[in-house]
């Protein structure tokens, strides 16, 4: 099965050119297409592939479903610490030998943990591909977890946690999540705490690999100068040795708490950092696309959003102000942030609440909706900037069950959003009185409604 991806910019869908500026259109021949192919290896490993012959390289991006939110209680940071060690020695190669081969072959290999997935990112020159693939297989199937490497990574993670412990942005985000999610795993920091990292053992790390790297949780995207014939056996080589299934459990569904509360964490800094937000919509919800378009207009749209215009452009209150949707598997958020002088926090929050309420009450204008759609459709191909970014897109499409032809259909989903849809979703979702607000700094005239929840550093 193949899907063609072209004509993202149908001229009819584009906004009229502004202010009488003449436009000259090149004879745009949409002859370029990104073709997504589904490849299944002889051993049954599936990958989505985009062939690209422009540069002699191969990029593989992959995810295992289940991330830091599935870490056992008391072992916060296990997924993250494990990923930090996968390229620190595997098979017969100790850390220095393994890293030496990666560097000598110019292989770009990295692993990291998110709340809901563990991700791998791999890019190699085709001339080194065979050995590079062997290194990737070893990292996933035979990581060594030598004591030297474990202790070194533990020291580095600990140093990073200490550094973050006084970073107002990190603190604001962590306190906000603690307030909203309470004891749910979504409140935990992905990279652990000083206490939890101290106690992670080699058995924990080995157990993580055995329980969490399984083929039924695996999603693979490949882009580069490679054919399905060559890719198939390569997939078996890398992933074929992993168990077919495992039984690790994930977190349960969660609703957001602490609606309407304002928390202040005192810190002696010249500018307060503010995080605000409440319940959002999930990716599979029928309200997702209307919410997505609505958020672009409210605070997602770079230099054109309402929040940007009202807070930064018009009043000069902040350098950075934004909102975004964060749909997760077991909960959903719409969240935003602003950083502003301590004596302007109250005013900035008042403006943001007003915009939140204005969108809830009246929705966007017809013009705003048209412009949002034009941007969201027209800018989509900009995300396909490199082999790695296209491969990440292929992984995201599979993760969210969007289908092989999603890149073709995406603009239909966006175009189908009506003004009434956005108004309905804004009214249902947005509520300025339900915003949970966390301020880190020394804000003036901001009254906390309750004591900020404690977090471990």
């Amino acid at each position: 099965m193949q899907s063609r991806f072209q004509n993202w910019l149908s001229p009819a869908g584009l906004g009229a050119v502004l202010l009488g500026l003449a436009v000259l259109l090149l004879s745009a021949a949409p002859g370029h297409a990104v073709t997504v192919e589904r490849v299944v290896s002889p051993g049954g490993v599936e990958a989505w592939l985009v062939r690209d012959h422009s540069v002699p390289i191969t990029a593989i991006e992959f995810s295992f479903r289940g991330g830091a939110a599935s870490d056992p209680a008391g072992k916060t940071g296990l997924a993250s610490m494990t990923t930090s060690l996968l390229d620190e020695g595997a098979g017969e190669l100790d850390s220095q030998a393994f890293q030496g081969r990666l560097e000598d072959l110019s292989v770009r290999m990295s692993f990291n943990a998110g709340l809901e997935t563990v991700r791998g990112s791999f890019k190699t020159l085709n001339r080194n591909r065979d050995e590079a693939v062997t290194l990737l297989r070893l990292a996933l199937n035979e990581p060594r977890f030598d004591p030297e490497a474990i202790e070194r990574m533990r020291r580095q993670i600990t140093a990073g946690l200490k550094r973050k412990s006084t970073d107002p942005n990190v603190l604001a985000s962590r306190v906000w999540r603690r307030a909203v999610f309470g004891e749910h795993p979504y409140a935990r920091p992905v990279d652990g705490t000083l206490g939890s990292i101290k106690d992670i053992s080699v058995q924990d790390l080995r157990g993580f690999v055995a329980k969490r790297f399984a083929r039924d949780r695996l999603i693979v995207g490949v882009v580069g100068d490679i054919t399905p014939d060559v890719l198939g056996p390569m997939l078996d080589d890398i992933f074929g040795g992993l168990p077919a299934t495992t039984s690790a459990s994930g977190p349960s569904d969660v609703a957001t708490g602490a609606g309407g509360e304002t928390f202040v964490v005192q810190m002696d800094i010249p500018q307060s950092v503010v995080v605000f937000g409440h319940e959002g919509v999930r990716r599979k919800s029928p309200d997702y696309y209307p919410a997505y378009v609505m958020n672009y207009i409210l605070g997602g749209g770079g230099f054109s959003s309402r929040l940007y215009h009202e807070v930064r452009e018009k009043r000069g209150l902040a350098y950075s102000v934004y909102s975004y949707l964060n749909p997760m598997k077991h909960g959903a958020l719409i969240t935003g942030g602003v950083a502003t002088r301590n004596d302007q926090v109250a005013q900035s929050l008042a403006v943001i609440r007003e915009e939140w309420g204005r969108m809830r009450e009246a929705g966007p204008s017809a013009d705003e909706l048209t412009h949002a759609k034009t941007f969201l459709n027209g800018s989509f191909p900009l995300r396909l900037s490199s082999t790695g970014s296209i491969a990440r897109m292929l992984v995201a499409m599979q993760y969210n069950d969007l289908g092989l032809d999603y890149m073709d259909r995406r603009q239909d989903f966006i175009n189908a959003v009506t003004l009434a849809d956005v108004q309905r979703v804004a009214r249902r979702m947005l509520d300025p009185d339900q915003l949970t607000v966390v301020v880190v700094g020394s804000p003036e005239s901001v009254k906390p409604t309750a004591k900020a929840p404690d977090i471990e550093s």
């Binding site: 745009a28 054109s304 412009h371």
Partner: protein
């Protein structure tokens, strides 16, 4: 939680992080010509997706500001997003967004750049509005005053709230005794507060000229298509004589300097040492390529000598490495850093790093280190072609400091020709018996 940053980037140092230092030979295969008004045009073709990155680079940066007007170049960059005679305030960004484009801008000591990434059939419109703001910008007090507050908030975010950024700013004031690099790009707050509308307009009139600008386009387009558009939109703007640039010269440091910041919010200390070095455009420029190979040898990969010895073997540090930045109009920098592992004093790990620097001067680097570093640097040039926007960034950054297209294209060959002797000679020139600036970022003991 992902943080979405609206970054009008302050320095290209950040902007190019993650991009191979420079890329190279017969790699980008750019086409280039110069308009009659002196504006250079460069095109790199990549047909993967029907998208282009359109950049205009001005060869003016923070170092060109008049005395007492620090922050002017960056503040002005913000104001380029306001209105012109044709486009009312906000309409520039709205036009880019309504045509599915993404945009931003950045200011460094050496140059200022503006860019949009957009579907290829929107390129003429981007060129039209970019050319428009090269000459027709309108600045009123109503426009500049709120933006001044935005810039001051940006300074609070980037510098004043971050102990390591505060220290970095202090460090530059003593690393450079005379060169304008000693002044922060974002400016001193009291000077941002005092920049006038007349200062901004005269900076604009002086430097925003086609003969001081470079047009770089990379993506799904060829020079054959770009040339008539460049002539139509940019070619009609008259050139004007540019102000004389000050030929700053940096005298050698005569004394070691030490900058110490004890800050209550520091939990993980850091030690660093910096040496002023030649760059691609300043001083003994023949040393720039060998120094780049040295930078790659030191740059902190798991098998690099500093990380291996100090982090892996001696276990006294959580990070350790060195770096070289020579992509500048003025002096370059060779730097070293180390951050202690728990139970180690910052001064002690600094002394260990200092001993490694002495060893580097005494023994030099090995043939094996040089050969491997050259291979990695040359391979990075292949990866640099992977993205449609990277070629524009790399070429623009090189041309804006005065390099040529040929310099960029011959880079892998030149790097390939660097010998161990050349690296060791560069080490001697930059490090042997040279004064330096040492910085310490320390926790403030609680009382």
């Amino acid at each position: 939680m992902q943080r979405r940053a609206l970054s009008r980037l302050l320095t290209v140092f950040l902007f190019l992080a993650g991009v191979p230092s420079v890329a190279g030979a017969a790699v980008f295969k750019p086409e280039s010509f110069t308009l009659d008004n002196g504006m250079q045009v460069v095109v790199v073709t990549n047909h993967r997706v029907p998208v282009v990155t359109h950049m205009v680079w001005y060869k003016v940066g923070a170092m060109d500001e008049p005395p007492g007007k620090s922050g002017l170049a960056h503040y002005f960059e913000h104001l380029m997003f306001k209105g012109t005679e044709k486009l009312k305030p906000g309409a520039f960004s709205a036009t880019v967004a309504r045509n599915g484009g993404r945009e931003n801008a950045f200011t460094s000591q050496d140059y200022t750049g503006y860019f949009q990434s957009v579907a290829v059939d929107r390129l003429p419109l981007m060129m039209e509005i970019e050319a428009d703001r090269m000459t027709n910008l309108v600045l009123t007090d109503e426009i500049i005053e709120p933006e001044r507050q935005v810039v001051i908030e940006e300074r609070r975010s980037r510098t004043e709230s971050d102990p390591s950024a505060i220290l970095g700013e202090q460090l530059n004031t003593v690393l450079y005794q005379n060169y304008p690099y000693r002044i922060p790009i974002i400016g001193w707050r009291h000077e941002i507060e005092n920049v006038t509308r007349e200062d901004l307009l005269s900076f604009y009139r002086d430097w925003y000229r086609p003969n001081n600008a470079i047009l770089v386009i990379s993506g799904d387009i060829t020079m054959k298509e770009v040339r008539p558009l460049a002539e139509k939109y940019y070619g009609v703007i008259p050139s004007r004589p540019l102000p004389k640039r000050v030929a700053w010269v940096e005298p050698p440091l005569k004394a070691d300097r030490k900058v110490v910041l004890e800050h209550a919010r520091v939990r993980q200390p850091t030690w660093s040492r910096r040496f002023v070095a030649p760059s691609q455009m300043y001083g003994e420029t023949a040393l720039a390529d060998p120094l780049q190979v040295l930078g790659e040898i030191l740059s902190g990969g798991a098998t690099s000598r500093l990380y291996r010895k100090l982090v892996v073997e001696q276990k006294i540090a959580v990070s350790a490495g060195g770096w070289y930045n020579g992509r500048r109009r003025g002096p370059g920098v060779l730097g070293f850093y180390i951050s202690p592992a728990p139970g180690n004093e910052t001064e002690a790990v600094g002394a260990a790093m200092s001993a490694e620097i002495d060893l580097l001067v005494e023994k030099g680097v090995t043939d094996d280190e040089v050969a491997k570093a050259i291979q990695r640097l040359q391979d990075s040039a292949i990866y640099a072609r992977d993205s449609y926007s990277t070629p524009a960034r790399v070429l623009g950054g090189a041309l804006a400091i005065g390099r040529t297209v040929a310099d960029v294209e011959s880079w892998p060959a030149r790097i390939g020709a660097v010998t161990t002797e050349a690296v060791n000679k560069a080490i001697a020139r930059v490090l042997k018996d040279r004064k330096s600036v040492t910085s310490l970022l320390l926790s403030k003991p609680t009382t």
